[in-house]
């Protein structure tokens, strides 16, 4: 007989769905089926069961191959690396629990490290913009119950946040939106005919990299000021029409993604989008929200925020917290050869950083803590497999709207495998021994 575990949290994207049902074998060791999850979420649960999963830490040999080592050796290597390094970089933190992040920060304080999370290549520019101009935001529940004007700007939730639209933004019937998607007008801004754009009432197929102009044009249209014939390839009439649609709504929301944060102008795109939101509040109620990618990147920002006051790129090497994007951000540090060791947990810079930064990682003493085999694990000196948070161990996570949700454990991890928290805890204690109580 198998048993069913209900209300499981999905540890994939920032939507953090909390209604999964997982069928588990009687001995609590094997996942047999998953209901309600999107294809990616289901894949994550199933991958935890993969027969070829790495179960022991692996150390890189001089010829580039990997040799299995014990967790004790892995803890020792990691602690010694931190002890020796003058300015180590601790990157990742988005695919793990807040508890693990907190222990990581304790290590960082002792080792004088720089803690940076995946926002640095994701919504980091959003955070800069928020610090510049503030953010009027809300929760996903409010959107479900109230929002009738939905803008997706430079994001493609059909592929990246597959259940976002069905759970919150487009289809659900809420308290004031009882006709579901019929109550809502959907506007998509994307240079490509993305699958999200195909569903839209209005699709602004702007010229690549012209987001700032189009945002400004909408702000101009709201003020009834004159516009040129086309802006960013969009005819004036369309812009005015959409501005009217936005004004006529009762509650609107702008969701934005990598299309604006990674395109040139970066943080300025976002601050203009936030100012557009502010302008729209002259006419109706409007909010704006970042489509956060990893399931707990928001949590990393939160934990860093309450511990050190900054959401990412926190430099503790001088004994106090400093934050200066462009200087203390991972890619800048790597490009300028400013770090002498790298510790990666819950992220894959090997695949997601520009190759020039990846080359630098390969040359440094490096530890990669990740349940999967990834390009990062395969260039790091040490790969430490751990239990999957949200599948094999619980922990606190933050949804994209900053709502904390406790992830649940569904099955046992493979025998002898440590969790992120256990591994970091042991590294922390070993580092204490090495430092002999000195800070």
């Amino acid at each position: 007989m198998s048993k069913s575990v209900t209300d499981v949290i999905c540890p994939f994207c920032g939507t953090l769905c909390d209604d999964l049902e997982v069928i588990v074998s009687d001995d609590g060791k094997k996942i047999e089926d998953i209901y309600n999850a999107c294809a990616i979420g289901a894949e994550k649960f199933m991958h935890a069961q993969a027969a070829d999963r790495v179960k022991k830490p692996r150390m890189q040999q001089p010829d580039g191959t990997y040799k299995e080592v014990s967790y004790d050796e892995a803890v020792d290597y990691t602690a010694k690396m931190f002890h020796k390094a003058r300015k180590p970089l601790m990157y990742g933190w988005s695919s793990t629990s807040c508890e693990a992040q907190s222990i990581g920060h304790e290590i960082a304080e002792k080792a004088g490290a720089i803690v940076d999370n995946t926002a640095t290549v994701c919504h980091g520019t959003t955070l800069i913009a928020v610090q510049d101009v503030g953010i009027p935001s809300c929760t996903l529940g409010e959107i479900k119950n109230r929002a009738d004007r939905i803008i997706f700007w430079g994001c493609n939730p059909c592929h990246a946040h597959p259940r976002h639209q069905s759970r919150y933004s487009i289809f659900p019937r809420g308290y004031f939106t009882n006709k579901g998607h019929k109550n809502r007008k959907m506007i998509v801004v994307d240079p490509r005919d993305s699958d999200t754009a195909k569903m839209a009432d209005y699709h602004f197929k702007l010229e690549q990299g012209r987001d700032y102009e189009l945002l400004s044009a909408l702000r101009v249209a709201l003020r009834n000021e004159p516009l040129p014939e086309t802006v960013a390839g969009i005819p004036r009439e369309k812009i005015i029409e959409v501005a009217e649609v936005l004004k006529s709504g009762r509650f609107g929301i702008i969701f934005f993604g990598m299309g604006v944060t990674q395109t040139l102008s970066k943080n300025h795109n976002i601050d203009n989008a936030i100012m557009l939101t502010k302008d729209l509040n002259e006419f109706t109620k409007f909010s704006i929200m970042a489509m956060r990618g990893h399931y707990n990147v928001t949590g990393s920002g939160q934990v860093l925020g309450w511990q050190f006051g900054f959401p990412y790129a926190v430099d503790l090497s001088r004994g106090f917290a400093r934050y200066n994007p462009g200087e203390t951000t991972s890619n800048d540090l790597l490009r300028r050869d400013e770090v002498d060791a790298i510790f990666v947990l819950g992220s894959d810079p090997g695949a997601h950083f520009p190759i020039s930064s990846v080359r630098k990682i390969a040359k440094l003493p490096s530890v990669c803590v990740d349940p999967h085999i990834t390009p990062t694990s395969e260039i790091s000196k040490l790969h430490v497999p751990v239990a999957f948070v949200g599948v094999e161990v619980g922990g606190n996570c933050y949804r994209m709207d900053n709502v904390p949700i406790e992830a649940r454990k569904v099955v046992d991890p493979p025998e002898g495998m440590l969790t992120d928290v256990e591994f970091l805890d042991r590294v922390n204690k070993r580092l204490d021994q090495l430092m002999g109580g000195k800070k």
Binding site: F12, I40, G41, E43, K44, M46, H47, G64, T120, V121, G124, T125, I128, P191, R192, D193, S194, D195, A197, K205, Q208, G209, M258, G259, T261, Q262, T263, L264, K266, N267, Y312, A313, P325, G326, E327, T328, T329, S330, N331, D332, R335, D348, G350, A351, H352, F353, P354, I355, S356, S357, V358, R359, A362, K363, H372, I373, T374, P375, E378, I379
Partner: protein, 114 residues
Amino acid sequence: MEGGKEKDAYTKACGIIEMDPSDLKKLGAWRGTNVRVTSKYGEVVVKAVEATQGPHPGLAYIPMGPWANSVVNPNTYSTGMPTFKGTPVEVEIAMNEPVLSSVHLVQKKCRGEA
């Protein structure tokens, strides 16, 4: 992506360049031909496929992954964020060159072999 990045499925999903049919025609390439993508910052061999979320003549798309990161502009302009989008590239046919898997690609690039 969650099924294992060392697997073929990841290469098939991300080791590609989505191009507009008119651009493929201009290049003289069949769908599924391997092509070399070169930018100021690097080069990589990927499979040319017809854009599923098109049309967008003149615009090509490589999904996020080590293949795209071999050619993107790493400059952050003091924001911490590399310029992942809007990199000008040239595409040429490279029929006999293989598309490397993510792990091999990154390992080779790090050793300076590719």
